[in-house]
Amino acid sequence: MKMTCRHGLLAAFAVGMMVAAGCTTTYSVDRVNTAGEDSLVFVRPDRYSLLGTRSLRDQIEITYETLTYDQATGYAIVRVGVRNRGGQHFWNRRGRDINLSAQAAFYHQPVAMAPPQPGASFPSDVKGRQNAGGPGVFAPPIHQSARKTFALPRGQTHHLEFICPVSNAGGYQVVFSEY
């Protein structure tokens, strides 16, 4: 009994020493390389389900995305068409209306690849995702809009417009999420 007790204490002590050796006052935060990120991104779903997915990619699609500049002021204007796809799987007994929020951040430098011509949509691959290769986000934004919240009924297209009231905006990124 005494031996058992002693071995148990030794084991606990050893484990404690190992844990204590790994504890430090501060820890580094993960850094991410945003090169190649799209100009339109969405966040992870609010929760995961056993059947199916709650990813926004499953629920919405982008119909157009244009970047133009106001002639009088030189302000960048981003226009995005967002459409609710409706039910995509057999378990979707009814395609639901969704509530979304979108926020645009404008940067001096481009985030994604430049569009072929001003006012045209960005080039995308067969899956509908933008061609990779942009420099990504590596500097603070010159302007960030407030989060816009909107309801998207099934099948409807919502036309978002973001204006950057600071001149010389070269790039932007719009983040979508549920609210």
């Binding site: 009088a72 929020s101 407030a146 989060r147 816009k148 204006i163 009231p165 609210y179």
Partner: protein
């Protein structure tokens, strides 16, 4: 048996202690910080205010009249009218919009305050600056008088009598003390080049140091001819009265004496008495025209005008546009929840032409679950 009962008592005591302990709380939980951009149960909360300001601000800057303006555009914001069912301080919306515009316009847009307290404080500061500047002005006027040819080139020191300024009733200022201060400034710098008669005495004077207050916004009453004014003072001085024409003590001046006719003197006196009743200092730009008048022929041989007081304004003279608007709402109650549709409209109006040069609209619709007791 007794041991069993003892165990039961102990068990109940422990249970009671645990329950009592869970029921006690020494201090409340600290507050939880919430994101101001997050939509909440408020029909028009922080998220909606931020969205509204973020959308409307750049659109105002893109209005052609503002985008192409060469200089800074000045706007005065009127409070939004609230015709909705929501109880809220509409200044939160206009303040958020002003903050957004001030940040992103980079000086192209400025706002003129419409807050009475802020305007009052600003006017108080301006008034104190004007009063501090008056002392410097007296120095300048005194120097101008001493440098005038009639004094600088006089073969012997001229004798000057100081008389009260004309139309003091128009301006609400203490004219006599002002002229007296001017006399003191001249005397201190004269070094014997000028002599003054005793205060109130016109005897032996070659020149009268007098003045005329001028208010830019003229009142109908109280305008008196300077020459008649001087004659009135001389008549009073000869009759042994003070030269202050507002002083009603002492015997009346004999109608037969003096340069003024009886009718003219009575009319002047009546006008002076009526104008003396006006006690409220008018809010206008005020100037003082200081004059050196020759006593024998009443010719002003030297005069200099300077600004005494400034009209206190609300700062609207440079405003180019007015920003105003309205909040409206429509509600529907469905199975314990309220569907509310809110519209905030803004208008930019040019005051000169009354044109609405820009109109903006922010709208939102929410379904809010209502719970609890309905009163």
């Amino acid at each position: 048996m007794q041991q069993k009962q003892a165990w039961q008592v102990m068990t109940y005591a422990v249970l009671a202690a645990v329950m009592f302990g869970f029921g006690c709380r020494t201090q409340p939980k600290p507050p939880v910080q919430l994101d101001i951009h997050k939509v909440d149960h408020n029909p028009f909360g922080s998220a909606e205010i931020k969205q509204c300001a973020s959308e409307m601000g750049p659109r105002i800057l893109m209005v052609p009249e503002i985008a192409r303006a060469a200089d800074t555009t000045r706007i005065v914001v009127q409070p939004l009218s609230n015709s909705s069912t929501i109880m809220m301080d509409t200044r939160m919306i206009t303040d958020a919009l002003k903050d957004e515009l001030m940040v992103v316009s980079n000086g192209r847009v400025r706002f003129v305050t419409s807050d009475d307290y802020e305007i009052g404080q600003s006017n108080m500061i301006v008034q104190e600056k004007i009063e501090a500047a008056r002392d410097r002005m007296l120095d300048e006027v005194a120097e101008s008088i001493l440098q005038s040819p009639v004094i600088a080139n006089a073969s012997k020191p001229p004798i000057i009598a100081v008389t009260p300024a004309l139309n003091a009733n128009l301006v609400g200022l203490n004219a006599n003390s002002f002229i007296a201060m001017l006399r003191a400034k001249i005397a201190s710098r004269a070094n014997g080049k000028v002599f003054f008669t005793a205060p109130g005495s016109l005897e032996g004077a070659e020149y009268y140091l007098t003045g005329e207050f001028i208010a830019e916004s003229m009142q109908r009453e109280g305008m008196i001819n300077l020459v008649d004014y001087i004659y009135l003072m001389e008549d009073r001085a000869r009759a042994g009265q003070s030269v202050d024409v507002y002083d009603n003590t002492g015997a009346m001046v004999s109608p037969a004496s003096g340069a003024l006719t009886r009718e003219r003197r009575q009319a002047l006196q009546a006008e002076i008495e009526r104008s003396a009743q006006m006690q409220v200092p008018p809010n206008v730009n005020k100037h003082l025209n200081v004059m050196l008048v020759k006593a024998d022929n009443k010719i002003a041989v030297m005069e200099k005008m300077f600004a005494l007081d400034q009209k206190m304004t609300r700062g609207l003279e440079r405003v180019e546009y007015t920003l105003t608007g309205n909040i409206a709402s429509q509600s529907r109650y469905v199975r314990g929840s309220e569907e509310i549709y809110i519209v905030v409209t803004f208008k930019l109006i040019a005051p000169d032409t009354k044109e609405e040069i820009w109109a903006g609209r922010y709208e939102t619709k929410k379904a809010i679950q209502r719970g609890g007791v309905v009163y």
